[in-house]
Amino acid sequence: MSEIDPITLSVLAGRMEQIADEMDATLFRAAFNPIIAEAHDASHGLYHAQTGDTLVQGKSGLPIFVGVMSFAVKAVIEKAAADGDLEDGDIYIFNDAHIGGTHLSDMRLVRPYFRDGELFCYLASVGHWHDVGGNVPGNYNPAATEVFQEAFVLPPVKLARAGEVNQDIIDILLRNTRLPQSAMGDLNGQLGALDLGVRRMDELLDEYGAETIAAALEALGHRAEALMRSELTDLPDGRWQAEDFLDNDGITDEPLRISVALEIRGDQMTLDFSGSSPQCAGPVNIALPTTVATAYVAIKHIFPALPANAGVMRPIEVIVPEGSLLSAEFPAPTGGYTETILRMIDVVFSAFAKAAPTRVVANAYGTINALSIAGKRKNGQPWVMFSFYGGGHGGSPETDGLNHGNAPISTATIPPMEILEAAYPVMFRQWALRPDSAGPGAHRGGLGAIYEIEVLEENGAEAFLFGERGCFAPKGIVGGGDGALNIFSYEQEDGWHHPPLTSKMRGIRLKQGQAVRLETPGGGGYGAASDRAPEAIARDVARGLISAAEADRTYGTDWREGQA
C-alpha cells in the first residue's frame, strides 16, 4: 500500500464523507415517508471490502446508525462467502434485527462496489420504513414476545443480481406491508442513493486512481484510531463501574439491570457489560450489533470530533455477556430497543464521569415515551395518534441542561401540537415545561415536560404507552442530583390513575372528555447542589422553574438573600 500525503488525505476525507452526505440527501429528497424525509431516520456509508468495517459515513443520518451499519455489511459478506456468488451489480436487502441491529422497521440495502472487476468496498443504505407488517401498524408492539409479532423478517437476500432487479422480492415486500406505495417510494429512494454512490465512487477513482483511494481509506482508519488512542492516553488509567435499571420488560413487573465496567489502560479502553440482566420475555431486548453500535454512540457523544470510522473502535473492547438482554437470541422481540440503548448510554456516561468528569454531561431523560391514542370516528374510520415525547437533558460542566430535548440516539423533532390536533380528535390541555423536574446541581438538569391530552371523539379512545424511568430516575454526576421520575396518569370517572407497570400500558379506555397526562423526566444535575449560584436559584424560582419550597429543600434558603 503506498503512502499518501497528508494534504491529499484531508481533501479525500472531505470528498468521501461528501459521497455519503450526497447519498443521504438523495434519499431524504426522494423518500415517500416522513420518518425518512423529515426525521432523517436513515443513513449511508462506505464499508471495507473484507471486514465490513465502517470507512466513511454521512453526517446527516440518525446517530444510532453510525456503527450499526457495518454489521449489515458483515452479514452480507458472510452470506456472499457462503453462497460464493458475489457479482458486480448485486444488491442485498434485509431487515433482520438480530443480524443487522436496531429493529425490523429499518430496511438495509448493501451493494458491493467493484473496480476493474475487483471488489473495492461496499456501499450501504438503511432507512426506517413506515410499515413492515406485524400485529401493530407502524410495528410498535409493546406486548410482543417474539419478533414475528413485530413485523415480517427478511434475511439477507439478493434484490438485484448482476444489475437485474428481482421483481419477486419486491412483490413479496409489497404484499407484507400495510403501506405498499410508501414502501416502494422508500425502496426507490434507497436504490437511487446507492446508484449515486456508485457514480461518485467511479468519478473519485477515475480522478485519483484506486490505489490512492484505497491508501486513503486505510490511512483514515489509522488516523481515527490514532485520534482515539490519543484521547484515551489523556485520560487517567483505572476501572470505574456504573449500573442502572429498566423499570420492567412490559410483561413482568421486575427491574432489569444494565451494568458497565469502564476500564482505561494507557491508550485502550474496555466497556464490560457483564452483570447485565438475562434476556427477557418482552421487547426491551437488543441484539449484539445494537449493543456494539450503542457503545459507539456513547463514545461519540463524549468525543464529538471523532470521525465516523471503524478505526475509532480499534482501541476499544466491548464485552457483552452471552444470554443477556444485550445479546438477545432470535426470535426474542427487540421492538423497544430504544429504551435499552438509552440506558446503556446513561451508564457509560455515569462511569465516564468518574474517570473524566469534564468530558461528559449528566443523564438525559432516558425514555422515548412512545404514546399512542387510537379509536374510531363516528363514521367508523380508525385513527391512531402515535408520537414520542421529550424531556430534559443533563447538566454539563458549562451550563444547565437543555429543557425539553430529543433523545441522544435520535435527532427527530416532535410534531407541532396544532398538526396533531388537526389530524386527530384530541386537544392538548397542557404542553408545558414541568417545574421541579430538573435534577439539582451546580448546573441543574434541563426540565422535562407536561403533556395533558383530552379525547374529543364521542366514541372515546384507547391509550397505549411504552416508556421507562418510572421507577429509576435519570442520574446526576459529579455530585449532582437525579431528575424527576416519569409519571403517567389517565383519567377515569373516579379520578386519575397510574398504570400497574408504571410507564407501560396497554389499551386503557378513555371516554370523551377524559385525558391522559405525561410528566416526563428532567435531566440529572452536574456538580453539587451546594455549588449552585444563589442568583441562578433565585432566577429559577422567579421563572417558576422550581417552586420556592422545593428550592429551600434542595438548595437551602441562602438563595432568598439574593432575591431582587
Binding site: I7, K59, Q181, R223, S230, L402, G405, P416
Partner: protein
C-alpha cells in the same frame, strides 16, 4: 427632476452605496466603513459621498443587517407574551431539538423570559370552533402586568388562531387600546399558518425587533428628510423583494436576511443579462462562504430559517447555505494529523495574522498573502497600510508546516487546497439537495474574497465557467436598486380537495390580492407590471410533507376567480409527478396552505451602462511573483476596471480593483464581456 436611485447595503465591515442616475444612465459606487452601534452614520456618509443634494434622489432602497444583528446579539426589546392557558412554554420547548447532534451540550434561552409569558383563559379547536371564549379582562390584566414588568413590545399567541382568529383578534384589539406604543404583534396577523411553534416564534421575534428596527429606520428617515430627501424610502426583505418603510416597521421580522438577499437578486440579474440562467453564487466573507442557487433565472426560496438555535423565523427567504470557510477561517492540524479549516475564525477583527492585529493562527487569507495572490502593499478596503507577509508565513510554518513536515509554501498551498475542497463541497451539496447537476451551472463569486477562488471551483466541481461581476464588492447594494416590490401572504386552508369550499379559498385569494395591491398603490415608485401568483401546499392524505403547487387564477379589474377543483387536482398531479416521478393511485389530495405573492415589477436598468468605455488595449500595470502549483510564476497585474470590452487575459494573471482581487490561474483565461463582467474559463496561454 430627481432621478437618482440609491441602493445602500450595510455589512459588518463596510457600508456600500450604489447610485444609479436614471436620466444619464450612469452609475457610481462608494464604500465607507460601517458605523457601530448606530449604522445610520455610515449610511448617510456613504450617500453623501456621491450625492450632495438629497432632493435629487427619487428612491433609496436599503438592505440592512439591523434586524439580523439584533437577533444574533439578543439586543431586541424586552418583550412580553400573552398566550393560551397551558401553552406558556411553547417558545422555550421549541420542536424538541438540540443545538448539536453530538455532545449533548448547550442550553437555550428564549428571547422572552418565562416571567413575561402570561396565560389567559381562551381556547379555539383545530376546526375553528371556539371552545372557550377569550376573557378580555384577563387579557387586559396581563397586558398591564407586562407593562409593569418593563416590556416595550408584546406578542399575542393563541392556539389554532390560524383556523379562527376571533379570540386572538379580540385580544389584540383590547391590548392595542391600552398599550402605549405600536409594538403589538398578533400571530394571526404575522403568519396565519398551522404549526404553533413556528408561528409563535416568528411573531415573538417580530415583536422583539419592532422597537429596535422601527427606531433605526425612523432615524434614517428623519436624517434623509433633513437633508431634503423627498423620495421613496424602501427596505429589502429576506424574500429578495422590497417593502415600504411603514411595512418594515410593522413586520421587521421580514428583514431577518435582508442584506444577503439583495446580493443574490443582483447576482441573478447580472447572470441573466450575461446569458446565464443557471448560476450558483458564492459570497466569501471573513468568517463564512455563503452559497445560493439560481435555476432558470429564479432564486430558490426557503419557507423558514433558524437565525440561531431555537430562533425560528418562518417567512419566505432567499435560500442561502453557509459553511465556515471564509478568509478569516483558521487552519489547524488535529491530533490525528489531518489539516482542517475552520469552523473557528479570526473574522475581520483581529482578522488574519497578516493584519497584525493580534491573531497568531494562520487563516485562508494568510495563505493567499504568502502565495502572492493578495498584494501585501495595497490591502483591500484601505483600513490597513500594508499586510505582514512574514508574520503570516511564520504562523503557517508553526501551525501547519511543522506538524505536517511541509515547507511554508507547501503548507500555504495545502491550506488553499483544503479550503477550496470544502467550498466546492458546499456547492455540490446545495445543487444535489435541489436535484440539480452543478456542472450545468455557472459560478458567480462575489464579496471581497470569492474571486480569488473561482478557478479552483471550476476545477473542483467541474463547472465550465465563472462569471465575476464588474463590481463584485457592491453586489448587494446594486441588488437594492434592482429588486422588485414583493409581498408574501399565507393562510392555512386545511381541507381535502373534494370537500374544498371554493368560495372560502377565493375569499382568501381576494384578500391577499387586495392587501398586496394596496401596498403597491401606496408606493410612490413606478411599476412596469404587477404580478400575482398563488401556490397551494398540497399532499396526499397521510403525508406530512407537502409539495408547492402553482395554481392558475384569473384576475380581472382586481377581482380574483379562484381555480376549480379539477384545475387544482391537475396542478397537483403535475407538481407531484415533477417532484417524485410518479403519482399515488387512489390517493386523496389535501390542501394545507395557500401562499400568495403580489409583485410590483420595478423598471430594470441596463447593465451596459456600467460597461467599460475604454478602448485602450489591455496592458499590465506591473508584474508580481505569484505561487501556483509548486512554482513561482511572474504574473501580470492588470487594473481590472481599465480593461476594455472583449479583452482576453490569459492566466496566470491578477486583475485588481479597489475592493476585489480576481485571480486567473495558469491554464484559464478571463474575458471581459459587454457588461464588463469577467468570464473565467479554460483557455490557452498567450
Amino acid at each position: 427632476m430627481s432621478a437618482r436611485m440609491i441602493g445602500v447595503d450595510v455589512g459588518g465591515t463596510f457600508t456600500d452605496v450604489f447610485v444609479l442616475d436614471e436620466a444619464t444612465g450612469t452609475a457610481s459606487v462608494a464604500k465607507v466603513p460601517t458605523t457601530k452601534p448606530d449604522q445610520s452614520g455610515g449610511f448617510l456618509d456613504g450617500i453623501g459621498r456621491e450625492v450632495s443634494d438629497l432632493s435629487q434622489i427619487a428612491v433609496v432602497v436599503h438592505g440592512t443587517t439591523a434586524g439580523t444583528n439584533a437577533l444574533l446579539e439578543r439586543k431586541g426589546a424586552r418583550t412580553g407574551v400573552i398566550t393560551t392557558q397551558g401553552l406558556r412554554d411553547v417558545l422555550e420547548m421549541r420542536r424538541r431539538d438540540r443545538p448539536r447532534t453530538w455532545g449533548l451540550r448547550g442550553d437555550f434561552e428564549p428571547v422572552v423570559d418565562r416571567r413575561d409569558r402570561l396565560e389567559v383563559p381562551e381556547r379555539t379547536l383545530a376546526d375553528g370552533t371556539i371552545r372557550t371564549a377569550v376573557n378580555l379582562d384577563a387579557v387586559r390584566d396581563a397586558a398591564r402586568q407586562l407593562q409593569d414588568n418593563g416590556c416595550e413590545a408584546v406578542a399575542i399567541l393563541f392556539a389554532n388562531a390560524y383556523a379562527n382568529p376571533e379570540n386572538e383578534a379580540a385580544a389584540v384589539k383590547a391590548v392595542r387600546a391600552i398599550w402605549p406604543n405600536p409594538h403589538v404583534s398578533a400571530s394571526h396577523e404575522i403568519l396565519p399558518e398551522i404549526r404553533e411553534f413556528e408561528r409563535f416564534s416568528t411573531t415573538a421575534l417580530n415583536a422583539y425587533l419592532q422597537p429596535e428596527v422601527s427606531g433605526y429606520i425612523g432615524r434614517l428617515e428623519t436624517a434623509l428628510q433633513k437633508g431634503g430627501f423627498d423620495g421613496e424610502f424602501m427596505i429589502v426583505q429576506s424574500n429578495g423583494g422590497v417593502m415600504a418603510v411603514d411595512t418594515a416597521c410593522r413586520l421587521p421580522i421580514r428583514t431577518a436576511l435582508s442584506g444577503p438577499a439583495a446580493g443574490v437578486i443582483a447576482a441573478g440579474y447580472i447572470a441573466q443579462s450575461a446569458g446565464f440562467d443557471n448560476v450558483i453564487t458564492g459570497d466569501m466573507g471573513g468568517t463564512s462562504f455563503d452559497v445560493s442557487l439560481i435555476a432558470g433565472g429564479q432564486s430558490m426560496l426557503s419557507p423558514q430559517t433558524a437565525i440561531d438555535f431555537g430562533m425560528v423565523v418562518r417567512t419566505p427567504m432567499i435560500e442561502i447555505t453557509t459553511i465556515g470557510a471564509g478568509g478569516g477561517s483558521i487552519a489547524w492540524v488535529d491530533k490525528g494529523g489531518l489539516l482542517n479549516i475552520g469552523p473557528e475564525s479570526a473574522g475581520s477583527d483581529p482578522g488574519p495574522v497578516a493584519y497584525g492585529l493580534g491573531n497568531d493562527r494562520p487563516t485562508v487569507t494568510d495563505a493567499n498573502v504568502v502565495l502572492g495572490r493578495i498584494d501585501p502593499d495595497n490591502p483591500i478596503g484601505g483600513k490597513l497600510e500594508r499586510l505582514d507577509t512574514d508574520a503570516a508565513a511564520n504562523a503557517i510554518d508553526a501551525h501547519v508546516g511543522a506538524p505536517l513536515g511541509l515547507s511554508t509554501l507547501e503548507a500555504a498551498e495545502a491550506i488553499l487546497r483544503v479550503a477550496n475542497s470544502r467550498m466546492a463541497g458546499a456547492i455540490r451539496l446545495v445543487s444535489i439537495e435541489r436535484g440539480f447537476d452543478p456542472k450545468r451551472f455557472a459560478f458567480m463569486p462575489f464579496g471581497g474574497g470569492g474571486a480569488l477562488h473561482a478557478g479552483a471551483m471550476l476545477a473542483e466541481v467541474g463547472i465550465a465557467r465563472a462569471i465575476v461581476p464588474r463590481y463584485p464588492g457592491v453586489t448587494s447594494a446594486m441588488g437594492c436598486v434592482i429588486a422588485d416590490m414583493r409581498q408574501d401572504f399565507v393562510q392555512t386552508v386545511n381541507s381535502l380537495v373534494a370537500t374544498l369550499d371554493e368560495a372560502t379559498l377565493g375569499g382568501f385569494m381576494q384578500d391577499h390580492t387586495d392587501q398586496g395591491m394596496a401596498l403597491l398603490d401606496a408606493a410612490r415608485t413606478n411599476f412596469e407590471a404587477r404580478e400575482v401568483s398563488f401556490e397551494l401546499d398540497m399532499a396526499y392524505i397521510g403525508q406530512t410533507h407537502t409539495v408547492s403547487v402553482p395554481v392558475p387564477a384569473q384576475i380581472e379589474n382586481g377581482k380574483v376567480t379562484p381555480p376549480t377543483k379539477p384545475q387544482i387536482e391537475d396542478a397537483f398531479d403535475t407538481a407531484y409527478a415533477a417532484t417524485f416521478g410518479r403519482l399515488l393511485k387512489n390517493g386523496t389530495r389535501r390542501i394545507l396552505n395557500l401562499r400568495s405573492a403580489v409583485t410590483g415589477k420595478r423598471p430594470k436598468f441596463d447593465l451596459a451602462t456600467l460597461a467599460p468605455t475604454t478602448t485602450e488595449p489591455p496592458a499590465p500595470k506591473s508584474t508580481r511573483r505569484v505561487h501556483f502549483e509548486g512554482a513561482w510564476h511572474d504574473t501580470a497585474i492588470y487594473d481590472r476596471l481599465a480593461l476594455p470590452v472583449d479583452a482576453v487575459i490569459y492566466g496566470p494573471a491578477i486583475l485588481e480593483q479597489p475592493d476585489t482581487t480576481v485571480l486567473i490561474e495558469p491554464g484559464l483565461q478571463g474575458r471581459v464581456d459587454r457588461f464588463g463582467n469577467t468570464i473565467i474559463e479554460p483557455g490557452k496561454e498567450a
